[in-house]
Subunit: 330 residues, 2 copies
DNA sequence: GTAATTTGCGGGAGCGTTCCCAATCGGCCA
DNA sequence: TGGCCGATTGGGAACGCTCCCGCAAATTAC
């Protein structure tokens, strides 16, 4: 910086002003400084800046360390959104979603002096870890506990699940079965609730809930059961991978989709259109979630006040393909 | 830090020594300092440390911004491996894999003063961007250009593809077709070569190469073609998603797998076991890649010498399931 | 025409560390 | 006993930037 100042014939202070776009610099000086910067290929040292300002242009993202489609998509979407706002992203992934490991990940980010924190930890265990956070750090929770008072961006799981269930009911099915995600995920709970809501709103009987864990394997396991129940004509699965496992189990038992059994998934993974049959599913808009999340976070960072407790809900859309048909005539 | 020093009755310098596990500190002093640290809940400021040492415990990862299974798995695996070595990860994703955007991502990382760089950019365009890198920054390339002189960790695409092709030939097929990935990806090129190698080693005729783009859609598109060719009895696809699209196309045309056509994929996505039929595929060990990558990077960081030009190749394994059978009798 | 702003710029301090160098204190060897 | 050596500790400088304050020149106001 001193070199630049010398070359431009000004003080280091003026260089700093040009860098930070301070208004009180005359045009000629500004140009001289810019020229010097370009000539020397000077790049400001963000570390030094972070030291003196006490903050950095980095946001920390805590995400589960998994190949799950949702979290993984979220992560890249976040990185992209942050990048567009001139922020870098520090990722601290978490092997297991318990309070302890989430707290550790948060600590690591705090050590790095991140300007704000995005926590994608859609399980109940995340709550306590977040509660013990220093008050003054900007924080946005993604798909977190709807009951907790914090800035929250969430996919409207309930609405999505309701749409899926209603779609099946509208096709003529008397009721809809559900294979859920893990019970401690808010996403899973919301989808269960939307399913229940739609069912009771339609006055349909509510079949027992089958529990999965997002994996195709769990869809397969539950599918072996469902395949043997002749009264099952419609199933809503908590995600597309469960639906895939279900499809396979049904195919093994010779039950045809959608002629005998209709299925709706959730997530719209890129492959869903190429399942056999192509899967009707619910598509959450991860980019919108990420954009909203970064927006809320930056608002907090800029204002300096962390606890806006704003909510933002992203509505998913139903994508209809070929896995839904009217129930077979009795 | 001054507070800690005061409380422990030593100088700031001694506190620093304790923090950095410098040998020349007497046991009593060390304990006093540790006690003071604990009592005050003091946490060292990594920013200040980074400023004075000129480096940080952060590594930058450049990865394509995609939900592609390979890169996404790689990314989380890297984060995990880095974490285990006490490093944080800064991710700079890249929307499009061209020279310009890769160079930008690298610049952003350099701005952040990362200690080292991992580039997951398995396309030809990455080369020039990497060539213009400052010489003194530790760098590990993943699945990069085998021709470039740089530290490189790569999945042995050729061996994997050869194993897949040989497996099909061993089942009795006279030849094997291939749907490749995008031509500019090294991964795709390697898989093509392995396929060709196995074919010519067996003296089998080499069918025309079909080109895909990793997507299920491209598998479907090429599948519609293959389904109409009665002589096709075995197909090796560049990844599992292509295989999924192919499965769907074949199913639409009433061609059964594996009775009429055998298929082998690549990647072993978690869902592959639940395709219809369960897919025989090649599994690359992403964790091993990440571990090796971080290891090589840390070696460079510690030694201070960047260009070891070491290579590390990770051998993938063939996972046999139900999508391969002998060809139908003529 | 003089005083009161405003504008443009520079000097110096300080952010929280680590590194270099010096100083003190025993113990040991001759 | 005296000086030398290693072990331990402390004092300052420096890393590269931003912020606070001050000062000169230019502008405006009366």
């Amino acid at each position: 910086m001193m070199d630049v100042a010398r070359l431009a014939g000004v003080s280091h202070q003026t260089v700093s002003r040009v860098l930070n776009e301070h208004p009180n610099v005359s045009e000629p000086t500004r140009l001289k400084v810019r020229a010097a910067i370009a000539e020397l290929g000077y790049r400001p040292n963000r570390t030094a800046r972070a030291l003196v300002t006490g903050t950095s242009k980095v946001i920390g993202v805590v995400a589960p360390n998994t190949a799950l489609y949702g979290p993984a998509s979220m992560l890249t979407a976040f990185e992209q959104a942050a990048q567009d706002s001139g922020f870098a992203v520090n990722v601290g992934s978490v092997r297991t979603l318990n309070e302890r490991s989430i707290a550790d990940a948060v600590e690591r980010h705090l050590d790095q002096r991140v300007a704000g924190l995005v926590v994608i930890a859609p399980v109940a265990g995340a709550g306590p870890a977040l509660a013990r956070l220093p008050e003054d750090i900007p924080l946005v929770t993604i798909d977190g506990d709807p009951e907790r008072a914090s800035t929250l961006v969430t996919v409207d799981q309930v609405a999505g699940a309701r749409a899926a269930t209603e779609h099946l009911l509208a096709a003529g099915h008397s009721t809809v079965w559900h294979i859920s995600g893990p019970a401690d995920w808010f996403d899973a709970a919301g989808r269960v609730r939307g399913w229940q809501d739609a069912l009771s709103a339609a006055g349909a009987e509510q079949p027992p809930l089958l529990t999965g864990d997002w994996s195709a394997e769990s869809g397969y396991r539950n599918g072996k059961l469902l395949a043997r129940l002749p009264e099952v004509t419609a199933v809503f699965t908590a995600n597309d991978h469960i639906a895939l496992g279900l499809l396979r189990a049904l195919s093994e038992h010779g039950r045809r989709v959608p002629e005998e059994i209709s299925i709706v998934g959730f997530d719209d993974v890129p492959q869903a259109a190429y399942y056999t049959p192509p899967l009707t599913t619910v598509r959450p808009d991860f980019d919108a979630v990420a954009t909203a999340g970064v927006e809320l976070l930056l608002a907090q960072i800029e204002s300096g006040s962390p606890d806006l407790a704003t909510r933002r809900t992203i509505a998913p859309t139903l994508i209809t393909r070929d896995s839904v048909a009217p129930p077979p005539a009795r």
